[in-house]
């Protein structure tokens, strides 16, 4: 159980991604199997968020380094600056994590019946799972460029979902406006990542 808590920070982001990659294959089996699979994976993410919240409530900020020999090894041996990507989950991000996990579980359960009348069903669930992964990833990363990547996942899947009902002109137009504005915003954030990377931009000695 405690290993689950130790790895829960990254599992919360990885499980929706894994579910999104598996959904096209599972939806070949049957519509019913796909719906069950999506709901169980989102319920498991909700369970992980709750146990991580309890762990953070008890002993503070939860740090997870990706790729190091142990999750809490943030600084490599003979160096003073972290080189790998670090997930930093504090009270604020787990609070937002609880909200987004619960809301997306409710949205998935609601959309089971709503999506019966629409065509292209399993693509809706793939985009919904990716939206959830983008949201949770955005809240949990401690790395600036990683935040840009998850923000981009969020905006692309959100724009595609906005333009889902392609027979309405307003839906596609709204999706287009959403993707244009968020692409420009994300590129300016990428410019800010570049400025952060060159430290002495103003105080160059």
């Amino acid at each position: 159980m405690d290993t689950l808590v130790a790895h829960s920070a990254v599992l919360i982001i990885a499980i929706p991604l894994l579910a999104a990659f598996l959904t096209p294959l599972i939806s070949r089996a049957s519509e019913k199997a796909r719906d069950i699979f999506v709901i169980t994976s989102l319920a498991f993410v909700e369970f992980l968020v709750i146990i991580l919240a309890k762990d953070i409530y008890l002993n503070g900020i939860h740090i997870y380094t990706l790729g190091a020999s142990s999750p809490t090894l943030t600084i490599p041996e003979h160096y003073m600056v972290p080189v790998r990507i670090i997930l930093e989950v504090d009270a604020m991000s787990i609070f937002m994590g609880i909200i987004s996990a619960t809301v997306s579980l409710a949205a998935a359960i609601y959309s089971l019946s709503f999506m019966k009348r629409e065509t292209g069903g399993d693509r809706f669930y793939i985009l919904l799972l990716l939206l959830v992964a983008g949201m949770l990833g955005l809240e949990f990363t401690g790395d600036m460029f990683n935040m840009f990547v998850f923000l981009e996942i969020l905006s692309i899947s959100g724009a595609a979902l906005a333009a889902f009902r392609t027979r309405f002109a307003d839906a596609v137009e709204g999706g287009f406006k959403y993707i244009v504005i968020s692409a420009v915003g994300a590129l300016v954030i990428l410019f800010a990542v570049g400025i952060f990377y060159a430290p002495n931009i103003i105080c160059s000695t």
Binding site: V10, A14, L18, F21, L66, G67
Partner: protein, 149 residues
């Protein structure tokens, strides 16, 4: 397209695919890797679509073939990421193991394919994802905007 273009593209597609696979396979030693190699393979398929027309290509290379390729590439990639879950999520668990495990001597060396650990297999997985993804985008857009025969 005219007959000449079709026969030339029939011949050319072999060289493009082999060059793309070469760039994907040698990503951890030479410049290139999953992304550029996948783009080269996708440009080969785009050449086929231009030469033979999207409807002809659509008969053989259907969209769900690309969907299966993409999902399997992504599953290999995230499976390798989960493989190192013992230590941490993206831990390179194949370094030093019999699969792609050699560690080259420090400094310039002639380069040994059997190195790189899980990052070599991730290279191949990303090559599959990018080539299937980009050619799926080109095919779907060509079909959508082409003349319905």
């Amino acid at each position: 397209m005219s007959k000449i273009v079709r026969t030339i593209s029939n011949l050319l597609i072999l060289f493009i695919l082999t060059f793309g696979l070469y760039v994907i396979m040698h990503g951890h030693m030479t410049p290139g890797g999953g992304f550029p190699g996948g783009a080269v393979v996708a440009s080969g398929i785009a050449l086929l679509i231009v030469a033979f027309g999207s409807h002809h290509v659509q008969k053989t290379l259907k969209e769900h073939h690309f969907a299966i390729l993409k999902s399997s590439g992504l599953l290999i990639f995230i499976g390798l990421a989960f493989g190192g879950i013992g230590a941490a999520f993206f831990y390179n668990f194949l370094v030093g193991s019999p699969i792609f495990g050699h560690i080259p001597p420090y400094g310039p060396n002639p380069g040994d394919v059997w190195t790189g650990g899980s990052s070599t297999i991730m290279n191949i997985a990303v090559g599959i994802i990018v080539s299937a993804g980009l050619s799926a985008i080109v095919l779907v857009m060509a079909l959508a905007t082409g003349k319905e025969r």
